[in-house]
Amino acid sequence: MSGTLLDELYKEIILDHYRQPRNKGELVNSTCSANGANPLCGDEIQLQVTLVDNVIEQIAFTGAGCSISQAASSMMTEFVQGRPISEALVGVLSFQEMMTSGVPSEVDGFDDIDALMGVAKFPARVKCASLSWKTLEQALDGNSTATTE
């Protein structure tokens, strides 16, 4: 198996999030939630959020999917946890931009997430990486489903 390009996709930190996902599980007292799906490859995510005064106090996800979608979900929840909605939405946009440009984001706290920048080189995987962010956007918008296509 060839290294280089593949290792850009599956960086060590990504595999780490994939193997030990943070915030995986269910919340008892969530205030909003959304389900996301990427039907073409079978990725699924259920996202629960507890908002207090427009701040994401708690967040958790369940679901199944490839390493990229799982790691991205884990990283996303880690980033937004404890942040106000406005900062979370900046995250959504910044992540989108990173997927288009392939350039790491300048956003404070994106350290782990920047590791996903290699995904931009793999157009078929961008949807996997973006699913949790899209689902977050839906949850904060008060919608209950998201699909990437």
């Binding site: 198996m1 999917g65 996997c128």
Partner: protein, 419 residues
């Protein structure tokens, strides 16, 4: 060397010679890995003979067909119609007039749903399909159900992907007007027992549509012997070009079908008040056709005939059995569908426990190995198997056991990589 030789003796195919006809097989992927193309159920590769006939058309004979008095137009018409005759012969259709060129299987099935279905089906009539159909043989009937009010019923699959024929005999009632079934599943590879389905349909007085997208490239197809009413397939899966396919239908059905599209070449007369349709097949082929595509389709049929469909089938059975045996030896691999290569075409859907197919496909690609991952346009099968997706390796006449070895080696690496 000795083993290699004895091995290739068991085939009547000279694979190395065949491979030289497919320029893409000399391609390298990422950093110098030779391409191992195992995505043939999605599309097949194109031999130089087919590419050359397409190129020759554009370089030497390109013109619009029909009605031209000039030399190029006459040549183009003859090339187009001789392709139709080649295709009719390849599938043993009673006459080439019954062979309608379409853009592919999807259009062929939609044409039947529109032009035959809307004409002959009414509320309460039953159409029976199966749980293992490709979306192309599901969605057109769902649209018809929602518009006309037909009943749409599915023959369920058993755990190995074969059809539940007991259930089928209950489903195919006398109000059943059509049974539309795939001859081979693109997701699992199993081969349908067509004669059993045809028998049930005939008893109920229903017509039979066969989706031959997967079978036409790999199994000898004799339309007359199959005793069916409609047959659909795509050139791009059988060494031909994209954008061209076949709908064959019995003349008695074509006669009663209204054309789906109106335009040039499908009319006899047009006045401002009215138009009269041209003869069959022209009636169903409105507009300038995919002339180069039809010629390439004919060339692909020639190529397959020259190699021999039985030889291809034997080769694929051998390589598929070899692959099944090797895959079964990898601990976490689960193979879907029947394990006996006689019951399936050269398609193997599998998963590695705990590793998502997407990740499997990605790592394989970095080794130059092209497989498909996902739902393979057959979501009902995925639901029935209760998996979100599978990895799928599919073979054709140019694949070798050495390529299977590369696949299994790479799968072992995948397992190491993701742990």
């Amino acid at each position: 060397m000795a083993t290699n030789k004895s091995q290739s003796m068991t085939y009547s195919l000279d694979i190395e010679k065949i491979r030289r006809d497919f320029p893409i097989l000399r391609r390298e992927i990422s950093d110098g890995k030779p391409l191992v193309y195992l995505d043939n159920a999605a599309t097949s590769q194109t031999p130089v003979q087919v590419i050359a006939d397409i190129t020759r058309f554009y370089r030497d004979h390109n013109a619009n067909i029909h009605r031209g008095v000039h030399t190029l137009s006459i040549e183009a018409t003859e090339l187009h119609e001789s392709a139709r005759r080649k295709i009719a012969r390849f599938f043993n259709a009673p006459t080439s007039d019954e062979c309608i060129f379409t853009s592919g299987t999807t259009e062929s099935i939609n044409l039947v749903a529109h032009a035959w279905g809307r004409q002959h089906l009414k509320k309460g009539d039953r159409v029976v399909i199966t749980e293992i159909e490709h979306h192309s043989n599901i969605v057109p009937w769902q649209i018809l159900r929602d518009e006309v009010g037909i009943e749409l019923k599915y023959i369920p699959m058993l755990s190995d992907g074969t059809l539940d024929m007991d259930y089928a005999s209950d489903l195919i009632t006398t109000n059943t007007k059509l049974v539309a079934v795939t001859a081979m599943s693109n997701a699992l590879g199993n081969i349908t027992e067509i004669s059993a389905v045809v028998d049930l349909a005939k008893k109920a007085g229903a017509l039979v549509l066969l989706d031959g997208a997967q079978s036409a490239p790999h199994l000898k197809t004799d339309i007359q012997q199959l005793d069916i009413d409609f047959f659909a397939c795509s050139a791009h899966k059988m060494l031909g070009p994209t954008g061209i396919g076949l709908l064959w239908a019995k003349m008695e059905h074509l006669t009663t079908m209204k054309p789906l599209m109106g335009g040039g070449d499908m009319i006899l007369t047009v006045s401002m008040e009215n138009s009269t349709w041209a003869d069959i097949p022209a009636k169903f082929e409105a507009g300038t056709p995919n002339i180069a595509g039809a010629i390439g389709f004919g060339a692909a049929c020639d190529y397959l005939t020259n190699v021999g469909m039985e030889n291809i089938r034997n080769h694929e059975m051998q390589i598929t059995q070899y692959a099944i045996d090797k895959l079964q030896r990898i601990e976490r691999v689960r193979i879907f569908g029947p394990l006996d290569s006689k019951k399936r075409g050269g398609v193997i859907s599998f998963n590695i426990e705990g590793i998502h197919p997407h990740d499997v496909g990605q790592v394989l690609d970095s080794d130059g190995i092209a497989i498909r991952t996902g739902h393979h346009c057959a979501q009902p099968i995925m639901s029935a198997l209760n998996v979100p997706a599978t990895a799928r390796a599919s073979f054709y006449l140019y694949n070798t056991e050495k390529e299977v070895d590369k696949l299994t080696e790479a799968l072992n690496t995948v397992i190491e990589y993701f742990g």
